[in-house]
Symmetry: C2
Subunit: 102 residues, 2 copies
């Protein structure tokens, strides 16, 4: 019961200069990264969990090599997060956070 207290609106907590990579084609997220740089962002974080981690690396590499060529990878962090499954069990999933900076 008490564990419900901390659930705020999860969707709106993604900050502007962050791109969360999911299951869509990589180019969708590349477009989001490029747009943020074009809007004046000095740094953009590309984040992903689980199988999408490979795609996040693609997104960072494509953005940097093809579209925002003055951007560099400033930091990369990996970690583990615990997710609740539908059946109530928990599983650990890896995560990545790549910061591109121009």
């Amino acid at each position: 019961m008490a564990e419900e207290q901390r659930t705020q609106s999860k969707e709106s907590t993604i900050p502007e200069n962050e791109v969360f990579v999911g299951k869509k084609p990589a180019m969708n997220y590349v477009l989001a990264v490029v747009t943020q740089f074009n809007n004046g962002a000095k740094a953009v974080k590309v984040r992903a969990r689980g199988n999408a981690i490979s795609r996040a690396v693609d997104v960072a590499e494509i953005s940097r090599n093809r579209f925002v060529q003055d951007a560099k990878v400033s930091t990369i962090a990996i970690g583990s997060e615990e997710l609740a499954n539908e059946d109530g069990t928990k599983s650990k999933v890896s995560s990545i956070e790549i910061t591109l900076e121009r």
Copy 2:
């Protein structure tokens, strides 16, 4: 003839302290990482390309959190490599290299 001089057994060109992550279950590679640390390695590199990148992050996280708890992620590098396809065309693929250090 002279070119034969440098050809040593190709299989052994993967340095000892390196684990190249492919399509097998993550635990296979975790075992390789743990074994190298147990054999006295101070640092182990976990490398992967393409879709295996997610698994490489899993391998690093599982090794660090469960088996070699004094190991830390010292560096993470991402990059792009060009691979030749069977039909002669080339495609770019992302890569990752995670260095664990104890």
